[in-house]
């Protein structure tokens, strides 16, 4: 029953990597990738919390939470990308003036 601990540790490592990258790197896309890696870390952690070995069925509640979280993360990413696109677009317009 140590498998879930290994995976949980990996999940924490992803969270920390994502948070670090978000704080250190300025470009929007790198920040978005960082947030998504951080989110994936939280999700990975939840999945390993739900894992109960090969003999017992896993806990479906964390799985459902992660499904919800994935959709929420993609929604937020899409909105941020659209905002970023708008800023690029208007920057281009201003350059032409």
């Amino acid at each position: 029953m140590t498998a879930h601990l290994i995976y949980a540790a990996a999940g924490l490592a992803l969270v920390v990597l994502g948070a670090w990258s978000f704080l250190v790197h300025a470009p929007l896309l790198r920040k978005l990738v960082a947030l998504n890696v951080m989110g994936a870390g939280v999700f990975h952690l939840l999945i390993s919390v739900g894992y109960r070995g090969l003999d017992a069925p896993p806990d479906p509640v964390p799985h459902a939470l992660v499904l919800t979280g994935i959709v929420v993360a993609v929604s937020a990413t899409a909105l941020a990308v659209a905002f970023g696109q708008r800023l690029e677009g208007s920057a281009g317009e201003q350059d032409r003036d």
């Binding site: 969270v15 989110g39 929420v72 909105l79 941020a80 208007s90």
Partner: protein, 497 residues
């Protein structure tokens, strides 16, 4: 069987879908959803006042398998405030947006924001709170960027990113709680949480995430540009309600879940951050050149006061004194909600009339719109904390508690914040009542010299004034029912011996 709790969330969701599908009829459909939503929320408030805590087990499963909606006194008080402010914003928006393409874009996002607010106040489940927080954040960012102008989009992109970092941090805290306790229900978690690493770290993660979202100092940097660059009804909702929702969650989690197990030093830290926000926000508000920017910085400061209550509440044992002080915190939050919404709604009209919102050049607009100016003045009275506003009562109780408990360092902070607030409010009003411009060679101000003012009817001016009147008169003079309502607030330290 009518489930008013579920309806408070379901009705604005239906409104959102209807206004998305039929953008031509966004205003009538939006108002048709807004009125029953307010009704449902007020019914929740009445039920809580009459019968105590209301619980609704969605899906009939109950905790920990299903999700609970719960309304105690604290939730009901904020729900009532939020829905009255939202009603005023809804009545104001059609006139404000008339003839603009923004009208059809405003309503669906606004209804989603409303659903998120009601869902957040009523949520009794930690993961459900995460979903409502995300809905709140995304709807707020969309609304804030509604004009598509560069400054607005830029500010809201920043808000979106910070908010996402905040909600991921919050979710990590929720995962920690679930790992340790095996439940997501707030009440069950509160029963089982013991002092220890899990409690401390999940407190830090969840509160830290919420502080990012609520713009408490030093995480305030995104708020002023995001709130000042939005259309007026949106600024009102963001400053009065969205920020308050995050504060409500910090308070709720602290009262119910973490307060008994994390100790007073965490509360002291919250208090120190609050003190810094009071001074810094008020100072920046004083220096702001635009009225809406002033109002936005003032939100940072006013939010700071709310966090000053934590170290005092942490010192007080359960009992009347603690309940009284909690009531003062809620009263301050409610008054600020009404007053700040009023200030933004009025500022929007002045901006419409004058074509800008530079404080030094608003004299003509303020004199052409006396009702709006009265609204600004009353909202200012509530922001400073002059009697008879609710802020006065709340700040007085805060000061008394600080002195009684020997935590006198908070006293000069409150005083300085109040003086700065008086300075920035009178700076605005000074320009409003100036009969002649400062520079002698310019012609005297002619109220008719503000053509934009004619297009603004009384119906558009009333919502802001009504909110200001509630902040100054209703909450100031008749605040007693609030304490009766709060008597049913869940506060485990009361039950404990």
């Amino acid at each position: 069987m009518i489930d008013w709790l579920a309806l408070s969330v379901a009705l604005p969701l239906l409104g959102a879908v209807a206004t998305v599908a039929l953008p031509r009829f966004a205003v009538p459909l939006g108002l048709a959803a807004a009125l029953p939503t307010v009704w449902a929320a007020l019914m929740v408030m009445v039920l809580v006042a009459d019968q105590g805590v209301q619980v609704s087990a969605l899906g009939g499963w109950g905790a920990p398998l299903g999700i609970l909606l719960r309304a105690d006194g604290l939730a009901a008080a904020l729900l009532g405030m939020a829905n009255l402010v939202a009603l005023a914003v809804s009545l104001y928006a059609p006139g404000y947006f008339r003839g603009s393409v923004l009208e059809a874009r405003f309503w669906p996002l606004w209804m989603l924001l409303w659903a998120a607010l009601n869902g957040l106040f009523l949520a009794g489940d930690l993961f459900n709170l995460y979903v409502t927080l995300e809905l709140l954040g995304l709807a707020a960012a969309g609304l804030g960027a509604l004009t598509g102008q560069r400054a607005a989009v830029e500010a809201n992109l920043r808000y979106l990113l910070v908010g996402l970092l905040g909600s991921m941090t919050y979710l990590l805290g929720v995962s920690l709680i679930y790992t340790a306790l095996g439940t997501l229900d707030l009440e069950q978690a509160a029963r089982e949480l013991r002092a220890g690493p899990v409690a401390w770290v999940s407190f830090a993660l969840m509160t830290g995430g919420l502080i990012l979202k609520s713009a408490l100092f030093p995480m305030h940097f995104w708020l002023p540009p995001a709130h000042a660059n939005a259309p007026a009804p949106v600024s009102a909702a963001l400053s009065a309600l969205v920020v308050k929702a995050a504060f409500y969650l910090v308070l709720r989690l602290w009262l119910e879940l973490f307060g008994p197990v994390v100790g007073a030093s965490a509360a002291l830290l919250l208090g120190l951050l609050g003190a810094a926000a009071v001074i810094w926000g008020a100072w920046r508000a004083l220096r702001a050149e635009r009225l809406k920017l002033l109002a936005a910085y003032s939100t940072v400061a006013q939010l700071g006061y709310l966090f000053l209550f934590f170290p005092l509440l942490a010192e007080l044992p359960a009992g009347t004194a603690r309940t009284e002080l909690l009531g003062a915190a809620v009263l301050l939050a409610l008054t600020h909600g009404f007053a700040k919404a009023s200030l933004f709604l009025c500022a929007g009209l002045l901006q419409k009339a004058a074509g800008h919102d530079r404080i030094d050049e608003l004299s003509a607009a303020t004199q052409a719109l006396p009702v709006v100016t009265l609204g600004v003045a009353l909202a200012g009275v509530a922001l400073i904390g002059l009697p008879p506003s609710g802020t006065f009562t709340a700040k007085w109780m805060l000061l008394t508690a600080a002195i009684d408990l020997g935590q006198w360092p908070w006293v000069p902070v409150i005083m300085a914040g109040t003086l700065l607030a008086a300075a920035y409010v009178f700076r605005v009003l000074g320009h409003a009542f100036a009969s002649a411009p400062r520079h002698g060679d310019a012609p005297p101000i002619d109220p008719r010299g503000c053509p934009g003012a004619n297009a603004i009817g009384l119906a558009l001016q009333l919502p802001g004034l009504m909110l200001a009147l509630v902040a100054v008169l209703a909450l100031g003079m008749t605040a007693e029912p609030l304490w009766d309502l709060l008597a049913s607030t869940t506060d485990p330290s009361e039950a404990a011996p």
